[in-house]
Amino acid sequence: MDIVAENLAVCQICSPMDFRLTPEQESFRAEARSWLRANVPSAERGTGPLPSLDTPEGFEAHRAWERRMFEERWSVVSWPRSYGGRGAGLVEWLVFEEEYWDAGGPARVGQNGIFLLGPAMMAFGTEEQRNRFLPAMASGEEIWCQGWSEPGAGSDLASIRSVARPGDPEGTWVLNGLKTWCSRGAFADWLFGLFRTDPSAERHRGLTYFLVPLDAPGITVRPIAQLDGEPGFAEVFFDEVEVPASQVLGSVGRGWEVAMATAGSERGLSLRSPGRFLAAARRLVALYEQVALCDPARAERCADAVARAWIEAEAYRLATFATAARVLDGATVGPEASLSKLAWSGADLAVHEAAIGLLGSSAELLGSDGTPDGWLGGFLFALAGPIYAGTNEIQRNVVAERVLGLPRG
């Protein structure tokens, strides 16, 4: 830690507990709120809701929304101004997220880029890479997908078999193999992923992190329908795909380290901030009130589940503020990120299960466009929470071994 950061941390530690925002943070909130209220795609203004982002039109509509936010510097508020952000702090970012989801903002089609790759690129990328990729990532011009999993490598990510071998001219690479479960891969522009560059090294060592355009010769993308019937996944085949040295992120053979930094963002604060779950929990309470009017007996049966779900979302919000305070005091979030992941995935499921309970037998009905929307769509997505970003079983292993210190094995 440098001297300035250290002094800052010391001041932080001397200031008392306070859950209020500063006046500057409040005015940031007000500014975000009024912009979002005026601009979020909405039925009233005839601009929304956007079609599902797992369709070609929906994907482009979501991309246009990212562009709109970027124009006014709302797409990546916590990034430096030079890449299109506002240089906002951690608390401001959490506040922005609360406002975004409260205003009914659409799913972020650029999320893998802005929340996962972006932070890794700021930490590990060259100046050239940051200038080349970050602004286009922030504006939605280039949408990224994540290429980690393979048919034979899920939880055991280090067992991946897709390979990269040195190409000609020297410094270039040639990629071969298969990546799967790439979210939004069906329509995305670029992929970041891990490939084995040294088959003889220890399995975590010989990996390298590559950035690959999905229209490169030798790439075949096969969309896969998810539980909701839409092509939310893709399989990506690599057949002699040539990649220049400028598209390696971090050092050759150090891909695992870069990937783990990205995984920390995915599990911890940045991919799934509390705002999203709080907004859903608030909608759940409103649903409960509606049901209480027409079917009080059902509402009564579901009351405890509703309260429990709202409390879980609120608890995650408060725990996140506690994590933010530790970060501002100078700590880094290590394996504790696994606790966050368990918390948000649990809260999301609790909220949606309670909603499905309130809806009773009408929960199975599809929306007017024939897809599961609203609570049912949210419920299907919540079911994925304990699987992606490292399954919850893996997170429990991490908590047990690296937070509690239980023996490995």
């Binding site: 507990m17 925002l21 409103a286 709202w310 409390i311 506690a322 429990r396 210190g405 239980l406």
Partner: protein, 352 residues
């Protein structure tokens, strides 16, 4: 925005923890079980010397004049050590109630007792009036009797102070040997009115919130000790040629407890901060904290018992001292389900 203790608060909690390690080891908790009143008057005096008892008492009455945030930090430590002294009753309930009454009709008496508490010379407990009790606490019994010097009886008719020698007491023993419960009757002539029926309702609401937040803080401390004992045991005990903590069934059980604790603790801080600042969400936040902490503690107790196996099922092992306190406090002044329903009611009221 800062969801953390400051350095002074951390330091004070740290001092209290060192005090507990020395003055209140498990053997002391065990000794309290068989003592006459369920706690130690001597340690009560030492708690006053350390400034713990006076944390919420105004400075001009010999206290430290701090609020619920500092109190929460201390109560978590008290839970961690399973301190048998009635810190919940006196520090988290009687002191705020007396503070509320320090400008009312019973100001003189209230101030006198606040000073006695800070000096370590008085043990004060709070008893709910039976008619009001069932809704708020689920119990019509009062704790710490006959060891208390005074009982504050709170109900919708007001708050009165009754010296315990003027009380009729039918003692009831509880599973946790430090918890001395009693049915109380008293002669109204012996009681000093601290708050009349008009002020009483507000005071009672706050009392219930203080009890919820205070018991939640204790429960977080109890849970973290229960988890700590289980982790320690799982690292030592070997079966099938390996440490039992290397079995995934054990790991996942304990990770789940860790998660519950990590979620309950900041909720307690938020409730304490709301109470300290008379925030609009104080009641709701206190119920959120209690709902989370009560379930964290009962989950910690079950998991820790299971991980210990038969040794944990004995009265010889210390585990039961923490388990039994957890079970009792989990439902004292409202169990998790009670507090969840309070949260839902307040959320609905807000949208109306």
């Amino acid at each position: 925005m800062r969801a953390a203790f400051d350095r002074d608060q951390e330091d004070f909690a740290g001092q209290f923890r060192s005090f507990c390690e020395k003055e209140c080891p498990p053997s002391a908790v065990r000794a309290a079980w068989t003592s006459e009143v369920g706690f130690s008057r001597e340690r009560w005096g030492k708690l006053a010397e350390l400034g713990v008892l006076g944390i919420g008492v105004p400075e001009e009455l010999g206290g430290i004049g701090r609020g619920e945030v500092e109190l929460a930090a201390l109560l978590e430590v008290a839970g961690w050590a399973a301190v048998p002294e009635p810190v919940l009753e006196t520090m988290a309930m009687a002191v705020p109630l007396l503070r509320e009454c320090a400008s009312g009709p019973g100001a003189r008496v209230a101030r006198e007792w606040l000073a006695l508490i800070a000096a370590g010379e008085a043990v004060v407990t709070v008893g709910p009036e039976p008619a009001w009790a069932s809704g708020a606490t689920g119990s019509q019994l009062t704790t710490v009797l006959p060891g208390a010097d005074m009982v504050l009886v709170a109900g919708s008719n007001g708050v009165v102070a009754v010296p315990s020698e003027a009380c009729g007491i039918v003692a009831r023993r509880a599973l946790d040997g430090t918890r001395r419960l009693a049915e109380v009757t008293f002669d109204p002539a012996a009681a000093t009115v601290l708050a009349g029926p008009d002020e009483a309702l507000a005071s009672l609401g706050k009392l219930a919130d203080q009890a919820a937040c205070g018991s939640a803080a204790l429960l977080v401390g109890l849970s973290s000790r229960l988890l700590g004992m289980a982790v320690e045991h799982a690292g030592e005990r070997r079966q099938f040629g390996r440490q039992i903590g290397s079995f995934q069934a054990v790991k996942h059980k304990l990770s789940d407890v860790a998660l519950r604790i990590e979620l309950a603790r900041p909720a307690v801080w938020y409730a304490a901060w709301q109470l300290a600042n008379q925030g609009a969400e104080a009641s709701q936040a206190a119920s959120v904290a209690k709902a989370l902490a009560a379930e964290a503690a009962t989950a910690a107790a079950s998991a820790s018992l299971q991980v210990h196996g038969a040794i944990g099922y004995t009265a010889e092992h210390d585990l039961h001292l923490w388990m039994k306190r957890s079970w009792a406090l989990a439902s004292w002044w409202g169990d998790a389900a009670h507090h969840r329903s309070r949260v839902l009611q307040s959320l609905i009221a807000r949208t109306e």
